[in-house]
């Protein structure tokens, strides 16, 4: 019996700068999530505990949010060093999130719009977490999808590499019989965006703005050519900017495969 506790994987959830909505999606799973927590050793999860942080390594670490402050960067590198498996949780960490819009603005001007007379404000380029540390797996979405995330967590627990089907949002949208907003004349990134979200936005007649990133094999150029018939490049860019997808999609179109994979969900 003695060894039972020690064989539980050591688990951590760490948040950088974010809205923490992805952690709340986990909490909102209610008993299901609490049951999951029973099968791990919860070593670091500041939303639910205020214990001194234990030393030692983690088997699985989820990272939510972007590094913005120096402290964020330090914490991110530290967690990578100490974790066997590092998983990024949600759109901010995976694609840069809404804040990536700042990359397309003048940095000082954006600060000035918010702070009139405060001194230094950290405003680095917002970049995906895998630019700074090696990322093992990505859980996509703004926010993440609860049921999908629970499945991924249990797969990780079982020592398996989680796999997400590489299919577009369109598949789930069509299967559910939702209206095709692309055909109705809106900019919808559903055809190139990784499904698994149950096309939840389309259910509410909101076009897909690509928060889950590209899927492997996405026909990006086809969609862009189609959209450019009715919209300007600027209009399309603006939609892609909202969830940090613009740079990834642009890199992919330009065939930039060096350095890091353009498809951030590839590892899943």
């Amino acid at each position: 019996m003695k060894s039972l506790k020690t064989i539980k994987p050591r688990f951590a959830i760490v948040s950088l700068t974010s809205c923490e909505g992805c952690q709340f999606v986990l909490l909102d799973q209610g008993q299901k999530f609490l049951d999951f927590l029973k099968s791990v050793e919860v070593d670091e999860f500041r939303l639910l505990e205020d214990d001194p942080e234990p030393k030692g390594d983690y088997d699985i670490c989820l990272i939510e949010g972007n590094p913005i402050t120096n402290e964020n960067f330090k914490l991110l590198r530290e967690m990578r060093k100490r974790s066997k498996i590092l998983v990024v949780l949600g759109n901010c960490a995976a694609l840069g999130g809404v804040w990536e819009i700042k990359n397309y603005q003048l940095k000082k001007k954006t600060i000035k719009l918010v702070y009139k007379d405060r001194g230094h404000i950290e405003n680095p380029d917002i970049r995906e977490v895998d630019n700074f540390v090696k990322v093992d797996y990505t859980i996509p979405g703004c926010p993440i999808t609860g049921s999908e995330t629970m499945e991924i967590l249990y797969q990780l627990l079982a020592g398996k590499a989680p796999v997400l089907p590489q299919e577009p949002v369109c598949n789930e949208c069509q299967n559910n019989g939702y209206d095709c907003l692309l055909q109705r004349g809106e900019i919808c990134l559903g055809p190139i965006t990784l499904g698994g979200c149950k096309a939840v936005c389309l259910k509410s007649k909101q076009a897909c703005w690509g928060c889950r990133g590209l899927f492997e094999g996405a026909q990006v150029k086809n969609l862009m050519n189609y959209l450019l018939r009715n919209f300007t490049r600027d209009q399309i860019n603006r939609v892609m900017e909202v969830f940090g997808a613009r740079d990834t999609i642009t890199q992919y179109m330009e065939g930039d495969k060096k350095g890091k994979p353009a498809i951030r969900n590839k590892s899943l």
């Binding site: 948040s15 950088l16 700068t17 974010s18 809205c19 923490e20 909505g21 992805c22 952690q23 709340f24 999606v25 909490l27 909102d28 209610g30 008993q31 609490l34 927590l37 919860v42 500041r46 939303l47 639910l48 505990e49 205020d50 214990d51 942080e53 972007n66 590094p67 913005i68 402050t69 402290e71 964020n72 999130g97 809404v98 804040w99 819009i101 700042k102 603005q105 001007k109 954006t110 600060i111 000035k112 719009l113 918010v114 702070y115 007379d117 405060r118 001194g119 404000i121 950290e122 405003n123 703004c142 926010p143 939840v200 936005c201 259910k203 509410s204 007649k205 909101q206 603006r238 909202v242």
Partner: protein
Amino acid sequence: MKISVNHIGKMEGHTDFVAEIMKGDVKSAKMMTTEGARLIEGILVGRNFYEAPIITSRICGICPVVHKVSSIKAIENAFEIKPSEQTVRLRKLMMCGQMIHSHALHLFFLSLPDFFDITNDLTFIGEHKKETKAAIAVREWALKVIEVVGGRAVHPIACEVGGFKVLPQRSELLSLIEQYPEALKNAFVLVNMVLQIKLPKFSRSTTFISLTDDHVYAYYGGDIKIHTPDGKERVIEAKKFTKNIQEIEEPYRAAKSAKLDGKSFMVGALARINLNHSKLHPLAKGIYKKLGWKIPEYNTFKNIVAQAVEVVHFLEEAKKLLDELSLEMHEEKSLIKKLELIAEANPLGHGSFGCDAVEAPRGTLYHSYKIDKNGMLTDCQIITPTVAYLKNMESDLMQYLPNIKSLPEKERTMKIRALIRAYDPCIACATH
């Protein structure tokens, strides 16, 4: 002596606390927020108006509904658009869900364990299985409300400027009505637990601010009531909020704070109960009366009691709205389509300004926008509840520290954390 409390857990966002005590006097008490600035007000400038509710709801993962609704209302004010009564009911219903699930999470999972001297929720829930089940169940009902109306609980989708993109099914509303008695029963399990807790004694007179309405317990709109320590009350229009409340930037943190007439003030459940208790729904009012509070109630720790009362109130309010909505729903098109707002223009044909205040779970939330004639945002200001009461929290801590300064460090730290957490601070909101 210097008192430092680092990495305060069980709250949204990141902050440390530092105080300096010299010869028994507290010289300073500072909430040192460590959250990065996302500069959301800056991000929005140059973007289209319809992006604002989508982007600002990302300020906070626990209270996205109120950011979204407040943003939408402010833009509607700028456009001089009046949403339909049905739209208003649906928004209110979502906000009820928001209040209930946020309060239930905070009071049960984040704050309550402090008064059992438990630092880890997993220990706490192991010892309180019945109450945990109730807390989860009442949250699930509230989350379902938001999902049914807004399409998703975290970052709802269906609501936009002018109305709703899609409407909930009547059967979904009926099913929520059917589950209501169970949700209410579970809420009372929480209320009973909260009422049994012996909270620390603490009192510091301060100014309370909340929305107010002659007829209802204000949360969707209304004027702003200000109750000062001298017992005087004044009511101002919501659009004059920024003329009365001054936002402050301080060198030691990225989060802003706020003052009214140069002094700190309190917003949130405790402020609302203090100012609007006579408008509570019957069951909530029954609980309130049993409390035997002498108003104004200045003990900040009692914020969680006020939240418990509000959980019941907003359940009753949600039930009322569900009953009304399930009786008849019009298949109405969102005004955004009717007005062809999607064509990216200010329907007034010229630039305009609009602002709005709603009650968020943590207190009065203010959004304002300037929109040019092409529908592009040229200015944006958001004052979140945590910004509003950050100074009040520091003032409370300055007064509280002498009472606890001779306690052993571990115990003292626990007390400091408990007071901070009783506020239900959201540093993510504060450092938007």
